[in-house]
């Protein structure tokens, strides 16, 4: 369009180069939206498969009987292992978070945070090798306790990181009020800081439990030689557990085994989804409470 031949009645749509640029931008937007749709679709497919195949295996007998009819011992074993792991990891994680927020100087903060990041990034199979060398080999036997220690190592950085975030959200005015009344450090930590941050700490713990419950690699070293046909409550023997059982069943080409594995997956995934969503809701609530 030449400048002389300016046509005032031409429609106000972009042409030429601008049109091309806007098209490119439009396609980039479609691409980004498509990527998000793709990720959600993959999640939907995986969860739909697990639910649709798992639900047919489900029954009261399946949940409470021992193998071959059910998965009771695995559920109990996983519950015990994760409970011990959390009992170990929660105090340590919260204390590390307290150390970071209350005591550490900038140098040690750096070191501890780096350590937590490295622990968090440690492949879980390495933690399995570690536990094998540290506990299983000296004791000459696998045990639920060794499995719990492995899971605790996985949980600690998650709990510490999450707790630290909420501890930092505790309003300064609350601490200052305590200081003004002459309350000592430990009383103000136990009486003011921790109760205020409790919601967030519980959230972090629940999320770490959801993560630990499905960890398989360390348990291969610590609790993989078990009899799924017998209930066991003793943490000093290899407890039957859900993730390793799924792994074992998936390696055998056996249709009834697959059905059992889908049932196990269904229970595990529902627990994890339920815990994550619950923790998320709890976190949003405690954030709101702290912010107001």
């Amino acid at each position: 369009v030449s400048r002389a031949g300016f046509d005032p009645t031409a429609p106000l749509t972009p042409s030429g180069n601008l049109r091309r640029r806007q098209l490119v931008s439009r396609f980039a937007e479609y691409g980004a939206t498509g990527a998000a749709v793709f990720a959600v679709a993959v999640l939907a497919i995986v969860i739909y498969t697990v639910f649709s195949r798992g639900v047919s295996a489900l029954s009261l007998d399946f949940l409470f009987q021992a193998a071959p009819a059910g998965i009771g011992p695995e559920l109990v074993g996983t519950a015990i292992i994760v409970a011990i792991a959390t009992a170990i990891a929660m105090p340590i994680g919260v204390l590390i978070a307290l150390y970071l927020t209350e005591f550490a100087g900038s140098r040690s903060t750096h070191l501890i945070r780096l350590t937590l990041d490295l622990l968090n990034g440690l492949p879980s199979i390495i933690i399995g090798l570690f536990i094998f060398g540290l506990i299983v080999k000296p004791q000459q036997t696998q045990s639920g306790f060794a499995a719990a220690v492995a899971l605790a190592i996985i949980e600690v950085p998650l709990i510490a990181r999450g707790s630290q975030e909420v501890l930092l959200l505790v309003p300064l005015s609350l601490r200052e009020a305590g200081d003004a009344l002459g309350v000592s450090r430990w009383r103000s930590v136990l009486g003011i800081t921790l109760p205020t941050a409790l919601g967030g700490i519980v959230t972090a713990t629940v999320l770490s439990v959801a993560r630990a419950a499905g960890e398989t690699a360390p348990l291969i070293f610590a609790a993989s030689v078990f009899d799924p046909g017998r209930y066991s409550l003793n943490p000093f023997e290899a407890l039957p557990n859900v993730p390793v059982r799924i792994f074992q069943l998936s390696e055998e080409a056996n249709p009834t085994g697959f059905a059992e594995a889908w049932g196990l997956s269904f229970v595990l995934v529902s627990f994890i989804l339920f815990a994550s969503l619950g923790a998320r809701a709890l976190l949003a609530r405690s954030r709101r409470k702290l912010a107001s």
Binding site: R21, A36, V40, G133, R185
Partner: protein
């Protein structure tokens, strides 16, 4: 009472009050110290754990290290029955499967980050962001099981033949195997694991890019894509690299899901559709059945290699993330 203080006459009530105040002070000092001691102990325990992990893994590998030395890294024979071990093909499998997963996953994840931070309406964002993170919450053993029964047959029956027919002239797209257990399938599973990690970090990075810089570019006539290309991506590039490295670290170390779908092959092959194996998967597959000490030590040696690669990629990611973060945005 210190001797320097002037003698004061106290009646009984005052004396009692002073005594209780003093007791309280002592208790407080004790409490403060105990709290500090416990906190410090916990922090030191974390540091000690990292060091102990390194020590245990290396000492478990000691027999293999002293027997094979660094030649272990390049030797490609792995024959437990003959007592011959080498990590070459496993290092190859680890590198190929992880890099391919990153190649597929990083663009998808960065696009998701862009969508969530710049495009999505607030309501949609509130739903999609948690869903993407939920993808990371699915246990790897379940993803692997799904991979064996659902993904692998699809890959073997549909995806691989299609790629082989269309791009078969490129050696990496060779003829499909019979089971669908392949490096390619493992890469797809790893992609699913890597995407949520990179997506959530890059979303945080993009959200932290100041609004007025973007608005300035828009005011100069840049389209939305040009704002992203010209402002958002360049200012966060180092963070994106750090995020990708963290994703890579996750992919390198994944044992269970890979062990389920990769097929435990022992040869280096050009085609992605052949079976292979990774360091982590080999440990998971063979450790329970390892009978000889040298077999176990060699598996520990694989762990040492994995630990070194993992620590390096993690440290580099931390370093880049800390060093070049965009105005307070952290890479983690």
């Amino acid at each position: 009472m210190s001797s320097a203080a002037p003698p004061v006459l106290l009646d009984g009530a005052q004396a009692a009050r002073a005594r209780s105040a003093q007791r309280r002070k002592r208790l407080d000092r004790l409490g403060d110290r105990t709290l500090f001691a416990f906190c410090l102990l916990a922090a030191l325990l974390a540091v000690a754990t990292i060091l102990l992990v390194g020590y245990q893994v290396v000492s478990g590998a000691a027999p293999a290290i002293s027997k094979y030395g660094l030649g272990f890294l390049t030797s490609t024979t792995w024959q437990p029955n003959f007592g011959e071990f080498g990590a070459g093909s496993l290092i190859f499998g680890t590198a190929i499967s992880s890099l391919f997963a990153l190649l597929l996953g990083a663009p998808i994840a960065i696009s998701i980050g862009l969508y969530l931070s710049l495009l999505a309406p607030a309501g949609v964002r509130g739903v999609v962001a948690p869903l993407v993170e939920m993808l990371a919450a699915i246990p790897s053993v379940i993803l692997g099981f799904w991979g064996v029964l659902i993904l692998a047959p699809f890959v073997q029956g549909t995806l691989e033949p299609f790629l082989h027919d269309s791009f078969g002239f490129i050696p990496i797209f060779g003829a499909p195997e019979t089971t669908g257990a392949s490096i390619f399938t493992a890469s797809l599973i790893l992609t699913i694991m890597v995407v949520p990690i990179i997506a959530s970090i890059s979303r945080d990075l993009f959200t932290a890019v100041p609004r007025d810089v973007q608005d300035g570019a828009s005011a100069l006539g840049a389209t939305r894509w040009e704002v992203v290309r010209g402002v958002v991506l360049p200012s966060t590039s180092s963070g994106i690299v750090a995020a990708s490295l963290l994703g890579l670290g996750r992919a390198l170390g994944e044992a269970i899901a890979v062990a389920q779908v990769i097929g435990a092959g022992s040869e280096i092959q050009a085609s992605l559709f052949k079976t292979g194996d990774t360091l982590a998967a080999r440990i998971a597959n063979q450790f329970p059945g390892a009978l000889t000490e040298m077999h176990k030590a060699s598996l520990f040696y694989l762990g040492v290699i994995l630990l070194v690669i993992g620590l390096v990629s993690n440290l580099v990611a931390q370093w880049i993330g800390r060093r070049f973060t965009f105005q307070g945005a952290t890479a983690r």
